[in-house]
Amino acid sequence: MQDKDAMVLMKTENIVKKFGGITALNKVNFPVYKDEIVGLVGDNGAGKSTLIKILSGVYLPEEGEIFFKGKKISFKNPRQAREIGIETVYQDLALAPNMDVSMNMFAGREFVSFDLKILKVLDKRKMVQEATHTLKDVLGITISSDAMGLPVLNLSGGQQQAVAIGRAIYSQPKLLIMDEPIAAISVKERGKVLGLMKKLKERGISIIFISHNLDEIFSVVDRIVVLNRGCLVRDVKRQDTCLEEVVTVMLGGESRNN
């Protein structure tokens, strides 16, 4: 048991979140271990998005605590979550369509060439260099130098996806949350993203992977956590379960094994 505690990267204890009269999360205890990919699944309205928004600093929980590397933490906004080492790739990517690749990747922590306090001049060249480097070396995606200067709305879905992932992994976070990261891209690019997730795990980044597609979940995760109506109803290693069981639990039924 102690070994398991030492392996915990982040855990929530008794998290409660309500919206008006609706309890979106009810006393959720959700651990994430070091060097693992955990799949977070559940039907629509099960509370997946609420949970990850609490972990990424978008929402504040009403009750409960979050521990990160054994220390109790709380954050009021996404910046504080990022500073601790939790990054998120959002379902809708949350990119600014009118800005170029480098500004989207480094917004909030831009490179500055000289700083006169009220006049912080951007180091555009370094930003473009670093963006190109991250996309190419880490994600294996090449965007031409012409396209790097265009607003990201001109890029393909996969390229935009890469920008959003690049933004999240540039700072080498400890925990990466991926909310439906492959819903909007082509089949070929999906394979790439799944491969990338395995690579990131090898580099020591733990990942929370949210998807509606259980085949994809099963192909990469080490562990599966099922939410149902705001409650954590199953926490199981991938090899100890199967697709049918997960679906049953997701839909609120009891599995045959129990």
Partner: protein, 347 residues
């Protein structure tokens, strides 16, 4: 000689074919600013052809001086629009700050310099109030600034009771009437603001975040940018710019007229929109706004100089604004930009 001519031809040829020249040419034509500046030049040439008095030094100086006040206000409006908000109170802030600073000069015994500083601070405070209401109480900027526009205009009436403030110290007249090397001082100040703020928007962290915020507020929030603080700064900046224009106008008129700034709101939004600023945020440049303000100024001037009945002025200007927005929308929908790029690549 022959060799020289050959060399020159070659240089010209390579310039046209070079990768440096082409993007500049392409982006100039396809950017709205490029189109607007082009339209402005054609307009000026046509008017000058019909009535050469248009290009007299006197007329041009008056024309440029005329739209430099509006331009300063419109720069502030442009930055607010780029960030995805709108400020309807700019004219009222200009009037209130101008009147406030005139009142202090005449009635409080404050030195003119301090009175001007106080006027600018008043503008900043008005802008801060707008920003505070919009971010802290989470109200829509249209409604907030519609309300503060009325409130600030009302304060002008409270201070002046409808009368102009006269006997302003002569020492400040130069701000509105003086010249540096033949260029009126308001034009010099407007140009300095243009250069400083254009650089800020294009090349600084703050400037690029203004565009990011206008493009997607969610994107700005998830990367941890303090959106509330940014909006307050943007509205405060807009207030300071409005105040500068109002104070310059008081110096120009040598009295505190209660009507200062009253008719500045629509032209400043129009200048921004004609100049390519998007009303939904995320796009716009101050040089475009200047060109937009210049077009409005030239139109007004042309109506006078070509002997068109001045009763037509507002109808003509309104029509131009609607046309400019229409062209912009068509341009975006049809991918006009890509079309021109393709045309040039084929050459």
């Amino acid at each position: 000689m022959e060799i020289e001519a050959k060399m020159e031809k070659r240089v010209q040829g390579s310039l046209l074919r070079s990768n440096i020249f082409r993007p500049i040419f392409t982006s100039f034509l396809s950017s709205q600013e490029g189109g607007i500046i082009f339209a402005l030049i054609i307009m000026c040439l046509t008017i000058a052809f019909i009535n050469p008095a248009f290009v007299s030094k006197y007329n041009l100086t008056t024309l440029i001086l005329g739209f430099s006040f509006i331009s300063i206000v419109a720069f502030g409006e442009t930055i607010v629009l780029i960030s995805g908000e709108i400020d309807l109170s700019i004219g009222a802030i200009a009037g209130l700050s101008g009147i406030g600073s005139a009142w202090l000069m005449v009635n409080s015994g404050l030195s003119p310099v301090l009175a001007i500083v106080a006027g600018l601070a008043m503008g900043a405070a008005c802008g801060f109030v707008n920003g505070f209401l919009i971010t802290k109480i989470r109200l829509n900027s249209f409604i907030v600034t519609l309300g503060t526009m009325e409130a600030f205009s009302g304060l002008i009436m409270v201070i002046t009771k409808g009368w102009a403030i006269v006997r302003i110290p002569e020492s400040i007249f130069f701000l509105g009437r003086g010249q540096v090397l033949g260029v009126p001082i308001p034009v010099v100040i407007m140009t300095a603001i243009l250069i400083y703020l254009s650089f800020t928007l294009k090349s600084t962290v703050f400037g690029q975040r203004v565009y990011l915020l206008g493009g997607s507020e969610i994107a700005a929030r998830v990367v941890g940018i303090n959106v509330e603080k940014m909006k307050i700064i943007i509205f405060t900046l807009s207030g300071i710019l409005s105040a500068s224009a109002g104070i310059l106008m008081v110096a120009r008129l040598t009295s505190g007229q209660p009507t200062v700034g009253q008719y500045w709101l629509l032209p400043s939004i129009a200048a921004a929109v004609i100049g390519g600023t998007s009303l939904t945020g995320g796009r716009g440049r101050l040089i475009g706004t200047l060109a937009g303000a210049a077009i409005l100024g030239v139109l007004q001037n042309a109506i006078a100089i070509l002997g068109i009945s001045p009763y037509w002025e507002r109808t003509i200007i309104g029509t131009v604004v609607v046309l400019a927005v229409t062209v912009d929308v068509i341009r975006q929908r049809t991918g006009y930009l890509k079309m021109i790029e393709r045309m040039i690549k084929k050459q």
